[in-house]
Subunit: 231 residues, 2 copies
DNA sequence: ACGCTACTGTGTCCGGCAGACACAGTTAAT
DNA sequence: ATTAACTGTGTCTGCCGGACACAGTAGCGT
């Protein structure tokens, strides 16, 4: 599995030339997932886009789980190079780059969940995030935890604002808002604070990304400055 | 769908008594999901635990998607009642309660993803979170965004620290750490900052929840105090 | 008392899925 | 030329969600 993700395959000398490549397979899968959602990705479907049959794919990949892992790391891509900046600005653009990646391939939100082996691209993203904090005075663990918080925030914001191609019941943002508004009128008594909060927030949507990000960065800044002051 | 989640079913007068109830079905599903993971939940499997066949379930629920939604809201449960506290402490315990819920039913992390209709319990959690901030001077939108950030953080921490019963490849935390360590020794040159961060963080794991939560709360406090000062 | 009718549960069938396995064709090393 | 490594194919199994026709049941109006 690690070999798959990291591309350390001992290429064979004998036998016929392979008709496809692991990367080619993964790219086909990515194309399907981008267009029709992760649920539309099946071995049959992928094989249909390649000059091989379904079973041939198992020569390249042990199972679907592993294939999705390869697809995920590939789709994630390398983080874009950014000029050196102070840690706060660096993390801010890093977070936005991450967000862009998730909106480009929404299914990544579903496939990169839970414990899993990490691929080169995912590690590259982490590297870039951590490198913004090397001069901050935070410990290694704190640096990792910091970028984890930011990643979590970005992921969930992306999840909420993205329309998944297939998979989920095709609810638009409006459907949700309307259903919610409906419920809050009939059940307002059960959720008083929520109701007023919703009412006064009408129209000021989609500030969630910046708001949360600024809070987190503020919190980090407080810690970092405190550390610096106490040395 | 809204009727399903909110239990507004017009109970019929004629015809034979139903052999099961929607709640009973959902509870069976929850039992399976808790024990063997969300993937183990199938209509057959649920029917096997009840005195009905698979197809009878469709009398109570339009499809599996909806059933999982009902299961999710039911498993989430109501947030535990907590005495009134200052906003920061209230949010802190609220976050920990949320974390406990997710560790009790790890599959909730998978099933409550993306846009979806909200059930009464999920709204009750939001209500409790928002109610901690009503006196804070934040706008309604900011209150909602605040609890969203915290939820995101809790979710992702739970995701990382939980072992999913079925579903994912059964990787222990150790497997991951070892694989990661292995990679970072052979590829240290590509990820210099990450490598040093990992090295210096050895042994200080599982601080992620508190660390991130404190940063977020710090960030919120900064904003709230700033607001109060400027009035 | 009786049938109508709404309602519940069952069995069968379909298409699609992941994957096991045996086998045929291909190519390089010997 | 033979062998052995390797790639691709076709077939089969056991699951899944769900459509549909049908049989059984029980309350209602008459």
């Amino acid at each position: 599995m690690t070999e798959l993700l990291w591309g350390k395959q001992p290429l064979p000398s004998r036998g016929p030339k392979p008709a496809v490549t692991l990367t080619g397979i993964a790219e086909a899968g990515i194309r399907i997932a981008d267009a029709e959602g992760l649920d539309a990705v099946s071995m049959q479907r992928i094989a249909g886009e390649l000059p091989v049959t379904k079973m041939a794919l198992y020569r390249y990949v042990p199972g679907k789980t592993e294939l999705v892992a390869v697809m995920s790391d590939l789709a994630m891509g390398s983080p874009p190079d950014r000029p050196d900046q102070p840690w706060r600005e660096a993390l801010h653009t890093w977070a936005n780059d991450l967000y862009d990646g998730f909106t480009l391939h929404p299914w990544l939100l579903l496939s990169t969940v839970g414990r899993r082996l990490l691929g080169p691209n995912e590690l590259a993203w982490m590297e870039q995030g951590v490198s913004a904090l090397t001069e901050s005075g935070l410990t290694g663990g704190e640096q990792l935890d910091s970028i984890l918080v930011i990643t979590s925030h970005i992921r969930n914001i992306a999840q909420q604002s993205t329309t998944f191609p297939g998979h989920t019941t095709g609810l638009t943002e409006e459907d949700m808002q309307q259903s919610l508004a409906e419920i809050l009128t009939t059940e307002a008594a059960r959720f008083p604070h929520l109701t007023t909060a919703m009412r006064t927030s009408a129209g000021s949507e989609n500030q969630g990304l910046e708001f949360g990000l600024q809070r987190i960065l503020d919190g980090l800044e407080l810690l970092i400055n405190g550390r610096k002051a106490s040395t």
